[in-house]
Symmetry: C2
Subunit: 112 residues, 2 copies
């Protein structure tokens, strides 16, 4: 089975280092060396994470500059957000119920 793009996106996001790399790239493009700095990690280990992100279309790497900077590619993150948006009403409803419960407690408190 060919993995679908949404599964590739969520799979790539299922790792704290890869999420930290994306957060770093949201501040601007960076080289592999720069990306490796904040992690106690070898360059090959970081490169492996970058390959997963690149395969999922979450980053692109320039072929022009010699240091091949990595850049965030946000489109798959948008698709993932769109998928999750379908469930938004569930936590909105939970918050509504909580607010209603607090109002009831308050009313009871005033009555006694």
């Amino acid at each position: 089975m060919i993995p679908d793009t949404l599964s590739a996106t969520f799979g790539a996001l299922a790792d704290p280092t890869r999420r930290a790399i994306l957060a770093r790239l949201s501040l601007g493009e960076a080289s592999v060396t720069e990306l490796a700095e904040p992690f106690a990690m070898s360059l090959p280990a970081v490169s492996k994470h970058l390959k997963v992100l690149e395969r999922a279309g979450l980053i692109s790497r320039s072929r022009e500059a010699q240091w091949r900077p990595c850049r965030l590619a946000p489109e798959p993150l948008k698709d993932a957000t769109d998928w999750l948006a379908e469930f938004r009403r569930f936590w909105d409803e939970s918050l509504d119920r909580l607010a209603e419960h607090l109002r009831e407690l308050q009313t009871k408190g005033q009555a006694t």
Copy 2:
């Protein structure tokens, strides 16, 4: 390393069957048999997916009824959405740039 909750959530979402199960549960609670129906899948295979979703806190299973209905637990989906929201400005910016490009093309078209 203990897997963090956000990684568990994204990992659980990295599978089309598990996403389809969550979409089905967004319509209301369902038994394992009901959840297995739309997939050409054995009950043990579906149970395995449900265990992944349960471990990630994305579903809860009632202990009261004998058929142990599954129910959507939306909180981890909210946390995943909150994480992705940090990147929203990137695709908003991409859309802004596209709109600007189209406006420029239109202006050029009118000038010639």
